[in-house]
Every structure is written in structure tokens, then in C-alpha cells.
């Protein structure tokens, strides 16, 4: 039976590696990266994956080989040994070095992602509330937090290839501002104003996910990140301003009253998304 069980345990490393290889080729992999720093995080993930993968393979194979070789049914008597301090210390030293390497290797990226805040005025305030994201853009005067601010629930528009500073707040409970395609995640905490920064490198429509359990409607606290060119972004702000100030007066002709209340860009985006 020893051989059978050895193979059962050998299936763990074999299938484990196979699953990762297959996942990569079937597209079950990272979300498409559209941020300037995301590649670095993916790279780090892969570095750790290769290192841990090697350890994983080595240990699991040693386990399976031991089961194959030292099956009680055929080996006469176990080798009496209480251990070997030299091997122990040697392995510990190797592992320790690997761990120190991992720690040090990613310090820089952490600082880049969370500590070194770029010196910009905030592009947008993102406010989490049960169960939606409300974006607040500075109005024509460029200042966030006054009367002419523009609100856009659900859709976060940002210009492409520019440093964006998001000012993250929460109104009720904890939420988490999660942009899978930008490798961004940050909890929104009531009573705190947390800066988040990134630079998107491709235009498109991406998911804005809430990643912190925020109540029964957590699953539908979805938003959209819309990365667009500077011109489109400005146009969006202009449209937002126009829409926000819409007084309906020019729609005097009754026949026109029912049309074009929705913003063309929303429709466009919906179609673009449906087509994907």
C-alpha cells in the first residue's frame, strides 16, 4: 500500500504545478493590468511564486519519496536518529536568507504604493456608503469640498497616463476601495481620510469592487472605473457639470421632455461593456 499512498501524496505537487500552468494558459490568471505600478506587484507575486513553488516541490517530493522508500512493509527497521543539528541550522539559514530577501526585495514597492504620497491636489474624493460609491470631483474652481463640486455615483472617471490622487472616505461602515486591474486596494474607514494614488496606462472600463464586508448588499456595491483620454475626461466633467446644473428649461417643447435625460456617455459605456 505504501506505493499507492506515496502516489496519492505525489499527486499534490504534480497536480499543484499542473493547475498553475493550466490556469495561466486558460486565462485564469491576474486581471489585466492597466496601471503603472501593477506590473511591479505582479512581478513580486511571481518572484514569491517561483521561490515558494521550488520549496513546495522539493518538500512535497521528499515527502512522497520517503513514503515510497520507507514503506514499513518492506523496510526492516527504522534508522535510529534523534536529529542533526547541522542540517537543521543549515536549512534554517537558507530559509532565513530567502525570507530576508523577500522582505527586503519588496520594501521599495510598498513605499511606492502606500507611503510616498505624490504631491498633488486630490483629483477626486471617493465616498463609500452602503451600498454605492459616490465620486466627488472639484468643480470649475478646482477646489474639492465646496459648493460647486460635481457628484458622480458609481462611475469613477480618470484621465489616462496621469498621476491620480484619490481621497478616500466612508460615510457609514468599513468599505474597501478595490481596483483589481490597477492593483489598488484600500479600506475606507469612517472618520478617516485616506489618500490612494495610481496612474492608469490604458483606456477602458474596469471594475470598482468593494472588498470589505459592508452589510447585506456588499455583493452589489459595484462601481466602474472609466479610464479615458484627457479630452474625454474634460468632456466628462463638462457634461457632469451641465447635467448637475440641468434645469430642464430648454426642454420646453413637451415632445422633447422624455428624451435624452440619460447621459450619452453612460449609454455608450453600457454598450461597450456589453460588447466585451
Amino acid at each position: 500500500m505504501g506505493k499507492f499512498w506515496s502516489l496519492v501524496f505525489l499527486s499534490v505537487p504534480v497536480l499543484g504545478v499542473a493547475v498553475f500552468v493550466a490556469a495561466a494558459s486558460w486565462g485564469y490568471w491576474f486581471p489585466q493590468n492597466v496601471s503603472a505600478h501593477g506590473g511591479q506587484i505582479d512581478h513580486l507575486f511571481m518572484v514569491i511564486l517561483w521561490l515558494t513553488g521550488a520549496v513546495f516541490l522539493a518538500t512535497e517530493i521528499v515527502l512522497a519519496v520517503s513514503l515510497w522508500r520507507f514503506d514499513g512493509a518492506k523496510s526492516p527497521r527504522a534508522r535510529f536518529s534523534r536529529g542533526n543539528m547541522r542540517i537543521e541550522l543549515g536549512l534554517a539559514a537558507v530559509v532565513g536568507l530567502l525570507l530576508v530577501f523577500i522582505t527586503v526585495y519588496q520594501l521599495e514597492d510598498w513605499a511606492e504604493a502606500k507611503i510616498r504620497q505624490p504631491d498633488l491636489p486630490p483629483t477626486v474624493e471617493v465616498n463609500g456608503r452602503q451600498f454605492e460609491w459616490v465620486m466627488r470631483y472639484p468643480g470649475p474652481n478646482g477646489e474639492l469640498g465646496d459648493a460647486d463640486d460635481l457628484f458622480s455615483p458609481g462611475d469613477l472617471h480618470v484621465p489616462v497616463d496621469e498621476d491620480i490622487l484619490v481621497s478616500l472616505v466612508s460615510e457609514d461602515v468599513l468599505h474597501s476601495f478595490y481596483l483589481p486591474n490597477l492593483r489598488i486596494k484600500q479600506d475606507a474607514v469612517p472618520g478617516m481620510r485616506i489618500p490612494v494614488w495610481f496612474r492608469a496606462t490604458e483606456t477602458g472600463v474596469f471594475d470598482l469592487v468593494c472588498a470589505e464586508l459592508c452589510g447585506w448588499g456588499h455583493y452589489k456595491m459595484a462601481g466602474r472605473l472609466i479610464v479615458e483620454s484627457r479630452a474625454d475626461y474634460e468632456a466628462f466633467l463638462t457634461r457632469l457639470e451641465a447635467e448637475q446644473n440641468e434645469d430642464g428649461f430648454e426642454e420646453q417643447q413637451p415632445t422633447a421632455a422624455n428624451t435624452s435625460q440619460r447621459h450619452p456617455s453612460v449609454a455608450e459605456v453600457v454598450y461597450r461593456r456589453a460588447a466585451r
Partner: protein
């Protein structure tokens, strides 16, 4: 070391020879550590199936969102076409975790195996405070009652996650389960805290003061070391959770505002206090399992444990570091990111003692004479799965990588590899291994192996896949990711995982059948059916009240298998050096 000849300085033990007690005193309000251990075992077994059923409901929803659940769907949600409601889903997630952690893993390891094994393995008659021990079990019942009742109150059971993060858990109108359900949840946690604290103080006193002559600390089996360090962790970390829970209770009931920013409090404060307990709790849930697995592997490999002292040192190091790494659960929480760096360094350091343990288990196997019993297979599965669980932990310890995998299914996969792949396999192993001592009968080996093989395969099918969707960013605790275009591609994997999970769930019925069947029809076991060294195997099976029919004395460490000094391949701890082996202890 010579046997200490001094008379016992301990206070006179309880009237251990109380052999004519009524049924109630013997089996219900018993002060006998073995009966209490078994009480813990069977209570937690019931909760294991309750928690498992909740998990299956979670999986059903994830694979086929909002579709009719078979059988229960029609019972619970008839008016809505049998589909689960979203608040019910968050409740399922919360209560699955709560039950599995607080009512299954912790009490089965510390409560059941701890109670049963500590006095037997160190050669004591009973715990230091048997009555207190009884109370530590009966304080679980108010907790059981609170959690059970919470399913039936308005709004249902707690649904703010097992981490119970405020403000969601404090604001009454933030979530359906944040009504009486959440209050009952907190009360339950406080009661569990009292029960665990009483238990761990008892364990500590017993292990420090009541070891048999010759049983020095460095002759203790690893199981005892695991339980000893666990008890220390519980004694020092649990009061913090109790204090935090009391504050959350007053926030909810009396109107204080410790965790509410609008009242001047800090939502993150709870996270700090909670993880100050709950990170050590992660080790509370794995250290006893590591100890048991060490004993079991050494026994069935018929070979001394490779590097006993490093193993002890590793356990102590894990526990010590365990107190200063809680912040790694909070990298994305808004905590000062510079602190994240500190916590990361400490966290990554913890991988070192864990690696030492894995190498030593492999070292123990290498050159052994391995017997493939059900207990051994489950212990080997522990090692194999703990490797995966430990290595995947490195990803989230690295702060930068944690940005993408925090709160995704990668975490869910990781924690199940540690808690199911680790602790639960160790519980299976422990059950197969000590069943003869507990009940005087053997468990059925064939069904034990069938159960193992199916569990092992289905387990990996369920949880390995979670790493993949976690890498894809799939968020956890989300009732249906249908709102997100990015995650639609993982739907086939979700279906696959659910099928495996259902298979795994039903496989556990084999275990239950084997357990109860063997209680009745199992082959009678003699004192030492596995030819093991530790002291519990020298007592009768099952041991009577008072445990030993002779004075146990430890002459050597617990792992002298295949010693060249004796002809038999085991050398019991209590066998005097000059006696001829094999027959003295096992008869």
C-alpha cells in the same frame, strides 16, 4: 535523572476514587478529565456538521447564484422561489467561520484532546482543579445557547463577518444580523472566553505542577508542548478579546462609542484588539495539531522525532512572534503603512520556525519504517497541506503582494489549508490514533482510509482552486460576483469547487458512521495497540477514573522508537532501563 522521591507537595487530589457515582455525576457533570474531554469532543463534532452544512450552503450560492437551493431552499425561502437572500448569505459566511473557529477547532484541540491527553501523557491522575475543569466545559453551553438562539431572533444571526468589524457590527441598522443576533454573538464570545481561560489556567497549572516523577519539561511529548504553549497564548491573548468584546457590547447596548468615529471613537481600535487575540488564536488552532502530528508521525514511522529540541524551540518561537504580528491582517485597513513594514518583517520571520517544523517532520519520515494507518495518513496529509498553507502565507505577509490578494479567495484558500488541511486533518489523525484509548475499541481502518482518500482529494479540489481565483482578484464574502465583469470568467471554477465541497461534506458522513459504528462494533483494543512510547498507552484502555494502576515514572523522552538499546522497536517512557522491553508495559 533520578526519580524524585519526595512526597507529592500538591494539595490532596480530588476524591478520585469516587467510583460509585450516579449517571449524572459520571457522564454529565463529571469532573473526570477524560469524560470532559469526550464531552468536548462530541459537542464539537455536532457543531462540525452544523458549520459544514453552512459552508455547503455558501458554496451552493457561489456556484449557482440566486438559484433555488435543494431541499432547504424550499423550506426557508419558499415565498421567494427558494433562492437564498443576500443577508442570509452574509449570515452563513459569518456563522460558518464563527462556529468552525470558536466551536470546533479551538475546543476540539484544546478542549477535547487537551483534556483527554494532558493528565494521561504527563502521568497525572486528573487535572489540578477537576471541578474548575468541569466548569470550563459547562461555560461553553451558554455560548452554544447564545449562538443557537441567535439563528432564531429577529434579523437572524450575526452577519458582520466572524471578525465582527465595527461600525458594521455596532450600528443596529447597518446589517440585519446587527440586531440581537450580533449581541448574542458577542455574549457567546465572552462565554467562550471564560471557558477557555478557565481551561487554559488549569492546563498550565497541571503541566507545571503535576508531571510524573522523571517527566522533565524536555521529556514531554510534543502534544503536551503544543497544548502548553497554546494555553499560554490563550491565557494572555484571550482577555484582550474579552475586553474588546465587552466594549463592543457596551457600544451596542449602553451607547458608548469606542468604535464609532462620530462619537470620537476609532473603528480601527477593534481591529487592533481583535487581531491581538485572533492572530495568536491562529496558533491556538494549529500548535496542538502540530504537537499531535509530531507524536503520530514519530510513532508510525517507528523513528525518533527528528530534532526534538528545535521542534520545541520552534513552537515557542511561533508563539512568541505570534504576539507581535497581528498587524498583518490590517495592511489595507488604513493603519499607518510604515507600521505595516514592521509587521511584515515580524510576520515573514514566523515562516522560519514553521519551516523548521516541516523539515523535521520530513526528517522523521526519512529512514523510518512507515506504517500506513488511517492516523498516519491523516498526519501526513497535515504535513503536506501545511506546506501549502504555510507557503501561501508568505504571499500575504509580503505587504506589496497583499494589496492584490487581501480579502480575496487567495486568503480563503490559505486559511482553509491551515485550518482544514492542517488542524482538521490533525483532528482526524488524533481521533484514529487515540480512539482505542478513549473507548477501548479500534476504529475501522478500511473506512478510515476511504474517508481519508476522499477527503484529501475533495479538499484539494475545493481549496487549491481558491488560490487561482484569488489571484484573479475574486473578492471574498461576496454573495455573487455577478455585478463584476472581471470575475464572470471564474464561474466554471466556482462550480467545480462547489462539487468538490459537496463531495467533501458528504464524505464526512463516512467519518461519523465509522466513529459511531466503531464505538459499538469496533474490535476491542488492548493497552498499547500502536506500540507507542508515551505514558497514556501504559494505562488501561479506556483508563479508569484516576487513570493509572501504578505510579508512572518517566525514564526517557517520548520518542525512543527503534532504539538500539532494546530489541523491540519501541521503548516506553516508563520502562525501567534494566527491564527487558516490550512485555513490561503492553499487556
Amino acid at each position: 535523572m533520578t526519580v524524585a522521591a519526595s512526597p507529592s507537595p500538591g494539595a490532596p487530589l480530588v476524591d478520585a476514587n469516587s467510583h460509585h457515582r450516579g449517571f449524572l455525576r459520571r457522564y454529565i457533570f463529571s469532573t473526570d478529565h477524560k469524560v470532559i474531554g469526550l464531552q468536548f469532543y462530541f459537542s464539537t463534532l455536532i457543531w462540525f456538521f452544523v458549520g459544514g452544512a453552512l459552508a455547503l450552503a455558501v458554496r451552493w450560492q457561489l456556484a449557482w447564484p440566486w438559484s433555488e437551493m435543494p431541499i432547504v431552499g424550499r423550506m426557508l425561502f419558499a415565498a421567494e422561489g427558494g433562492q437564498i437572500s443576500p443577508e442570509f448569505y452574509t449570515m452563513l459566511v459569518t456563522m460558518h467561520a464563527t462556529i468552525m473557529i470558536f466551536f470546533v477547532i479551538i475546543p476540539i484541540l484544546a478542549g477535547a484532546f487537551g483534556n483527554f491527553l494532558i493528565p494521561l501523557m504527563i502521568g497525572a491522575e486528573d487535572m489540578a482543579f477537576p471541578t474548575l475543569n468541569m466548569f470550563s466545559y459547562w461555560f461553553m453551553w451558554p455560548a452554544f445557547a447564545c449562538m443557537t438562539a441567535s439563528f432564531f431572533v429577529a434579523g437572524g444571526a450575526a452577519s458582520a463577518g466572524w471578525t465582527s468589524y465595527p461600525p458594521l457590527s455596532v450600528l443596529h441598522d447597518a446589517a440585519p444580523g446587527s440586531g440581537p443576533g450580533q449581541t448574542l454573538w458577542l455574549l457567546g464570545v465572552v462565554f467562550i472566553g471564560i471557558a477557555s481561560m478557565l481551561g487554559s489556567l488549569n492546563y498550565l497549572t497541571t503541566i507545571i505542577q503535576m508531571r510524573a516523577p522523571g517527566m522533565t519539561m524536555l521529556r514531554l511529548p510534543m502534544t503536551i508542548w503544543g497544548l502548553f504553549i497554546t494555553a499560554i497564548l490563550q491565557a494572555f491573548a484571550l482577555p484582550v478579546l474579552t475586553a474588546a468584546s465587552v466594549m463592543q457590547l457596551t457600544d451596542r447596548l449602553l451607547g458608548t462609542g469606542f468604535y464609532l468615529s462620530e462619537a470620537g471613537g476609532q473603528p480601527l481600535l477593534w481591529q487592533h484588539l481583535f487581531w491581538f487575540y485572533s492572530h495568536p488564536a491562529v496558533y491556538i488552532m494549529i500548535l496542538p495539531a502540530m504537537g499531535m502530528v509530531s507524536d503520530i508521525i514519530s510513532c508510525y514511522a517507528r523513528k525518533p522525532l527528528f530534532g526534538y529540541r528545535p521542534m520545541v524551540a520552534a513552537i515557542i518561537a511561533i508563539a512568541g512572534l505570534g504576539f507581535i504580528v497581528w498587524g498583518h491582517h490590517m495592511f489595507m485597513s488604513g493603519m499607518n503603512p510604515a507600521m505595516g513594514t514592521t509587521f511584515m518583517a515580524a510576520t515573514i520571520l514566523i515562516a522560519l520556525p514553521s519551516a523548521v517544523k516541516v523539515f523535521n517532520w520530513l526528517g522523521t519520515l526519512w529512514g523510518g519504517r512507515i506504517e500506513f494507518t488511517s492516523a498516519m495518513l491523516n498526519a501526513l496529509a497535515f504535513v503536506s497541506m501545511f506546506i501549502i498553507g504555510g507557503l501561501s502565507g508568505i504571499f500575504m505577509a509580503a505587504t506589496t503582494v497583499d494589496i492584490v490578494i487581501h480579502d480575496t479567495y487567495f486568503i480563503v484558500g490559505h486559511l482553509h489549508y491551515v485550518l482544514f488541511g492542517g488542524s482538521t486533518f490533525a483532528v482526524f489523525a488524533g481521533t484514529y490514533h487515540w480512539f482505542p484509548k478513549m473507548f477501548g475499541r479500534q476504529m475501522n481502518e478500511f473506512w478510515g482510509k476511504v474517508h481519508f482518500l476522499l477527503t484529501f482529494l475533495f479538499f484539494n479540489g475545493t481549496f487549491f482552486t481558491m488560490h487561482i481565483i484569488g489571484m484573479g482578484g475574486y473578492p471574498r464574502r461576496v454573495a455573487a460576483a455577478t455585478a463584476y465583469a472581471e470575475f464572470a470568467r471564474f464561474e466554471p471554477l466556482n462550480v467545480f469547487m462547489t462539487i468538490c465541497a459537496l463531495g467533501m461534506g458528504f464524505t464526512q458522513l463516512i467519518f461519523a458512521a465509522n466513529l459511531f459504528g466503531s464505538l459499538i462494533w469496533g474490535r476491542r483494543a488492548d493497552r498499547n495497540p500502536w506500540r507507542a512510547n508515551t505514558l497514556e498507552w501504559t494505562a488501561p484502555s479506556p483508563p479508569p477514573h484516576g487513570n493509572f494502576d501504578f505510579q508512572p515514572v518517566a525514564y526517557r523522552g517520548p520518542y525512543e522508537y527503534s532504539s538500539p538499546e532494546v530489541t523491540a522497536d519501541f521503548y516506553p517512557q516508563n520502562q525501567p532501563p534494566d527491564a527487558e522491553p516490550a512485555t513490561a508495559a503492553a499487556h
